[in-house]
């Protein structure tokens, strides 16, 4: 008779003292050191040449060894879209699911298996249009998932229709006279959906991208990472303003926890010549010239602030048309209870209060009668 192994998963996970604040404490560590190569699958990568997805894939594969996790305990789950082919290229466990549903599937997986490091790869159409409902509910639940949202502001796989993040008036095949609807700002949306970790980064900035991945991996709970990603076929240069060295000076606001929020050409003190202040009259955030305003009152970025208010205000600085004043980095990173930890605690409490369930007792219930033969 074959050895039965299914029982090894029944409630036998090791529980750390306060593992809720150590997102990966239950995930087994790798034996020996890993390299980027270990995370490359044998599948040929089939994105269009020049696609921003290549850079993200390389960054993720390059970052994974740093986590030092047993790669059999890592799972990538994706939806539908160009970016959702991602799991096929990772030599971990993976599922390429259906349009918009990856957060739901990953929620079930992560809730049932706390010994896994679960990553969701999704796009602007997948996460914000067809799967919008699952995204917001996953964020509010705070399941321990790392969601990489590849935002190229276009539908690529269906060959170029406008997406929920496209700028208004976008001319595409489905909107020859321009799109009519206002876009989502994914960071604002996530903050409004009670996300405990929200960050934004750019495909071509490997160093920044990796630092954001690191912060996301360290975060207990759902981490939403919006990655601006270039679709060189249907929406080429969408983020050029953020990538071109010169333009980026004016366009990008790099957020670092504990640092004053400054951007633009370097001022005398070496930091950006512009800064963000809170207008004492309106409470709104405002950009000022540091030379005129001075350094007093320049906001110091606090990713751990309990209220998401300032992070939300920062996310609104970006102009959706020009992308000027786009904040990148970790906007919010706060601790709150992790869903599957709470779920596991309830199971443990029930076990303690009622004892381990006995099937015979359950089936009989309390109200029986006996028929004697």
């Amino acid at each position: 008779m074959a050895e039965h192994l299914s029982g090894t998963l029944t409630g036998s996970l090791p529980l750390a003292e306060d593992d809720s604040q150590q997102p990966l404490s239950l995930v087994p560590k790798a034996e020996g050191t890993q390299s980027m190569k270990d995370f490359k699958s044998d599948q040929e990568v089939r994105w269009c040449p020049g696609c921003g997805d290549y850079a993200v894939l390389a960054a993720v594969q390059g970052f994974m060894p740093e986590l030092g996790l047993a790669k059999e305990n890592i799972v990538f789950v994706s939806g539908i879209g160009c970016s959702s082919r991602f799991p096929y290229y990772m030599n971990t466990y993976g599922m390429h699911s259906i349009h918009g549903r990856a957060p739901a599937i990953a929620t079930g997986l992560a809730s049932a298996r706390r010994d896994l490091s679960v990553w969701v790869v999704t796009g602007d159409g997948d996460a914000l249009s067809i799967g919008g409902n699952h995204l917001i509910h996953t964020l509010r639940r705070n399941v321990n998932l790392k969601i990489l949202l590849f935002n190229n502001r276009i539908y690529g796989l269906t060959k170029g229709q406008y997406s929920p993040t496209s700028e208004p008036g976008k001319i595409t095949k489905s909107t020859p006279m321009g799109s009519l609807d206002s876009p989502f700002n994914p960071v604002s949306l996530a903050l409004g959906a009670e996300a405990s970790f929200v960050a934004r980064t750019v495909d071509s900035d490997r160093k920044h991208l990796t630092s954001v991945l690191r912060a996301a991996a360290d975060h207990p709970g759902t981490a939403l990472v919006e990655i601006y990603q270039n679709c060189n076929i249907f929406n080429d240069g969408a983020f050029e303003v953020l990538k071109d060295k010169q333009q980026a000076q004016e366009a990008v606001i790099r957020l670092e926890h504990g640092e004053p929020i400054r951007f633009g050409l370097p001022a005398q003190d070496g930091l950006g010549e512009r800064g963000v202040i809170r207008d004492p009259a309106t409470g709104e955030l405002r950009i000022v010239e540091v030379a005129e305003h001075g350094t007093d009152g320049i906001l110091v970025h606090d990713a751990h602030a309990e209220s998401p208010g300032t992070a939300f205000a920062l996310s609104r600085l970006a102009d959706p048309d020009t992308l000027h004043r786009t904040p990148i980095g970790v906007l919010r990173d706060v601790r709150r209870p992790v869903y599957e930890k709470l779920m596991a605690d309830q199971l443990e409490d029930a076990m303690q209060q009622q004892g381990k369930g006995d099937l015979g007792t359950l089936l009989a219930g309390r109200d029986t009668w006996t028929v004697v033969g």
């Binding site: 299914s6 790669k71 049932a112 009668w369």
Partner: protein, 638 residues
Amino acid sequence: MTSQVSSPAGQPSPDAKEIQQLDRVIIRFAGDSGDGMQLTGDRFTSETASFGNDLSTLPNFPAEIRAPAGTLPGVSSFQLHFADHDILTPGDAPNVLVAMNPAALKANLHDLPHGAEVIVNTDEFTKRAMAKVGYDASPLEDGSLTAYNVHGVPLTTLTVEALKDFEVSRKDAGRSKNMFALGLLSWMYNRPTDSTEEFLRTKFAKKPEVARANIAAYRAGWNFGETTEDFAVSYEVAPATSAFPPGTYRNISGNLALSYGLVAVSQQADLPLFLGSYPITPASDVLHELSKHKNFGVRTFQAEDEISAIGAALGASFGGALGVTTTSGPGVALKSETIGLAVSLELPLLVIDIQRGGPSTGMPTKTEQADLLQAMYGRNGEAPVPIVAAATPVDCFTAALDAARIALTYRTPVFLLSDGYLANGSEPWRVPEVDSLPDLRVQFAQSPNHELHDGTEVFWPYKRDPQTLARPWAVPGTPGLEHRIGGIEKQDGTGNISYDPANHDHMVRTRQAKVDGVEVPSIEVDDPGAEHEGPARLLVLGWGSTYGPITAAVRRVRRAGDRVAQAHLRHLNPLPPNLGEVLRGYDKVLVPEMNLGQLATLVRATYLVDAESYTQVRGLPFKAEQLADALKEAITNG
């Protein structure tokens, strides 16, 4: 035959009143949605079950939580059939109607045969209440009820009077009138009373005064029956000793039996159960029930929608849990794409559809079995899914085990069909011995299963078991078996993306062959006399919850001296291997269904037999009498 019944106050019943023996009784409690009729019915059922009668129940209530008081749409009822012998249905027509108000009388009167007992709460027969439902004159006084044996009882007044010494408001006292009615009926039918008193003490443990008041109302009802001259006779229905094989019994509803079946599956498979569900009538009770059993390692996830519910269950299955999702027809529609994904991923998953009246929102609290073809075909592409259907409330337990066996053995989503009638209906259940339950344990893949030409050992996620065609279940956390699966067509064996025409043709046929090859038992035909006289001319073929009414109808027809054969399907996909042969062995096949002929369509298409449909979509189960007439008609004109 007599049995010891003591009054709730503890004194033996005086012998002053006559006790008549009956072999069976059908009682219907009817009142406003807020009158507590379901609770009253439940309690009477519990008393009856513990007394040892066979029984079957039919709760019938509006979808509105509290429809406007006193209106016809607000009427809620609970019908109970109990007997000293084996019975199959909640009964066609009540012998006794308890009507708590004019609306309840009007809504139910047409179901009563002449001579039935009608107990009405006269306090509620005010001019205004009667006008609300279109009574110009009081039916209690205008002679329109002379065909019935009417007992007018001022239930509210008597209850308030009985509770005058309690510290409860007049209004609250009046609310206990259902317990007064229950007490009266418990006296009338000599039911044991201890369990109801105990129930009330437990239910209102935090409000002892309310518990005492309800018990007092209950006892007052009993005593009223015993003393008033209006009720000259009480009745006894002896325990159905011969109907029950030896064993321990309890009363159980379909949804409870189903929930227990799922816990049993988890235990027998040694897999943690993960239920992803979104609240929907009439399936929510399974979510509620399983949420109570976390000490069995059961995880319940109330999702943001039906799609997330099944998605999470499928994700859990990928991780090595037994993923289950519970819903009703509209929810199945939303889950269709994910069911297709599960077909493509070839992972175990239970999709439980507690059917209700459709289309669209339809009739949420009423029963129907019109999702068969949705379960069978309701997906894009060729996406075959095995289908198991429960036949009775207690059968929901076994059906769950059977559905899980298929899902786990063949790595496939499986539909389990129940319906509103089974979900809420209840009957006695012989509690199974845990040792007698099937072993459902499975083997996860542990090591590479394929050798490449160069001798490298690799893991192929779609390399199949040659017998079952099931693929290996390799769960994350298993070193060396890292693999990627998805909804895109994949190459058989490797599981790599493939758009190759021949491979797609092969995969479509393989997935179909896997489901076609699911092992299901041959169908058994009940055809007494076939051995000596050859088969009957007519075969009646059913599936799902029509089992009770069809079997009751078949018994009637046979008692009347006619011959009819009966077969009932547990497996709708694949169909039993001998079904074609069975169908062709009869001159005539009649298929009664609570839809417009979905099984009939399937068997006609599959076997080219001239099966005839007999259908009803009234949101209610068939009546045995009606089906017996249909069978007689088919025999006569066959």
